[in-house]
């Protein structure tokens, strides 16, 4: 048996063990399930830490720093000095006395992150979604008969869904004569329609997630059977 085969057998055994431990939750919360979850959190965070070092810090910080030291270049030195300064400031978060200084690095991160998020929301979601809603009607140009009616009806329903769903999340209210706060009547009606669209959308999402979960469960049960079958085939 080669080293790779041994690794595969060990990996298969671990996979079998952890699948059984996790699925033991079906009979209720128990220590075996907790062991699996805690080991999983530990292994996953340790793996993430190693990935962060080798795929982020090593190529973006360690290598440029070594290069700057070797070349003795001032520009390169300044380029790596700032992240080292930020690193030191973030590490101060660990200390209760100096944690306030970490705010400087956090402010930089939040500012840069806010700008990236803002542009991402604008160009990645808002503009494409608006364009896609308009394009349904654009597709009706040059069409006729039943096809035109179908396209206009579908586009109208999608547009109603978009507007009414947005109306559901509109919480601006006006005071009434009796002192109660109510939304405007048209917004209230649209919001009611929006509830139905949201219910339908969440139903579709639920069905999708449920189908995925079912597939994952079947895959895990199949892996358990395959591992046992391969063990008997091996020995």
């Amino acid at each position: 048996m080669s080293a790779i085969d041994m690794l595969d057998l060990f990996s298969g055994g671990l996979s079998f063990l952890f699948t059984v431990l996790i699925l033991s939750y079906l009979i209720g919360d128990n220590p075996l399930f907790r062991i699996a979850v805690y080991v999983f959190v530990g292994a996953a965070s340790g793996y993430v830490a190693a990935v962060v070092f080798w795929q982020v810090l090593y190529p973006l910080l360690v290598l440029p720093t070594l290069s700057a030291i070797q070349s003795a270049s001032l520009a390169q030195g300044l380029y790596v000095l700032m992240p080292w300064l930020g690193l030191i400031l973030i590490l101060m978060k660990v200390s209760s006395r100096l944690s306030g200084l970490a705010r400087i690095a956090m402010a930089f991160l939040v500012g840069a992150g806010a700008a990236v998020t803002l542009v991402g929301a604008l160009t990645g979601t808002l503009i494409p979604q608006f364009n896609a809603t308009i394009d349904i009607f654009g597709g009706a140009v040059g069409k006729g008969g039943f096809e035109l009616v179908e396209l206009l009806f579908s586009g109208g329903v999608v547009l109603l869904g978009v507007i009414s769903t947005l109306a559901y999340f509109h919480f601006g209210a006006h005071p009434k004569a009796d002192g109660s706060m109510r939304r405007l009547a048209p917004v209230e009606i649209l919001a009611w329609v929006g509830r139905i669209f949201i219910g339908i959308t969440l139903g579709v999402v639920f069905a999708g997630v449920y189908a995925t979960a079912l597939t994952a469960l079947i895959e895990r049960i199949s892996s358990l059977i395959n591992f046992i079958a391969s063990l008997f085939g091996m020995f």
Binding site: P83, V110, A112, A114, V119, G194, I198, T201
Partner: protein, 209 residues
């Protein structure tokens, strides 16, 4: 310090933002500066992740030291974390042993099995929803889920006519599309507003009122 951190957030945020909107052919320096700033942000995010993981170790070793309830689990967490981190640093995460043992042996099976457990918990949640909240949204939610299941099911006699061929595609491609698009636009508008509030220093999640 309060004003200083706000100035840093606004200044660097605007510089990154400018890099997206100014044409690179006319303002190459701004785009280069944006790349440098984003690289620094990636490095600091990585360091912040490591600090978070270090904090996890501190919390759980403290639990073990105090012999609190469940400290055995905390000890297992710390041991598995240290072992995986040490192996990852020595072998690198893309090494075949790391991939087979840590990824294929622990992380992926646990994630898939946890996803599998959702079959039971989602079914239970759907039943609870029907019992506790039988309003328009709840009824349409359950009805849609049932229609999608019936329309997607592979039965011995084939697809269910009308539901598979007409109702399910129309529900997913028209009705649900409208709702999903509305939710996505709502989320994006919320994200946009949050970003602008941070850039105008109306919200200061980095500290300071």
């Amino acid at each position: 310090m309060r004003v200083f951190t706000a100035v840093i957030a606004i200044a660097f945020g605007l510089l990154v933002l400018l890099g997206y909107f100014l044409p690179p052919t006319l303002f190459p320096t701004v785009v280069d500066l944006q790349t440098v700033l984003l690289n620094w942000a990636v490095i600091l995010t990585g360091v912040a992740a490591l600090v978070g993981i270090f904090n996890l170790i501190i919390v759980h070793t403290d639990k073990v030291r105090r012999a609190e309830k469940g400290s055995v689990y905390s000890a297992l967490l710390v041991l598995s974390m240290l072992f995986t981190f040490a192996a990852g640093m020595l072998l690198r995460p893309d090494h075949v042993a790391m991939q087979r043992v840590v990824l294929s042996g622990i992380i992926l099976p646990v994630e898939a099995a946890l996803m599998g457990l959702l079959v039971v918990s989602l079914l239970y949640a759907a039943i609870r929803l029907l019992r506790r909240r039988a309003d328009a949204m709840g009824i349409f939610f359950i009805l849609t889920a049932v229609v999608i299941f019936l329309g997607s099911a592979t039965l011995p006699f084939g697809d269910i006519p009308v539901i598979s061929t007409w109702i399910r595609p129309w529900v997913t491609q028209v009705l649900a599309l409208g709702g999903a698009r509305g939710i996505l636009i709502g989320v994006a508008l919320g994200t946009l507003m949050t970003g602008l509030r941070v850039l105008f220093a109306m919200d200061r999640p980095y500290g300071g009122k």
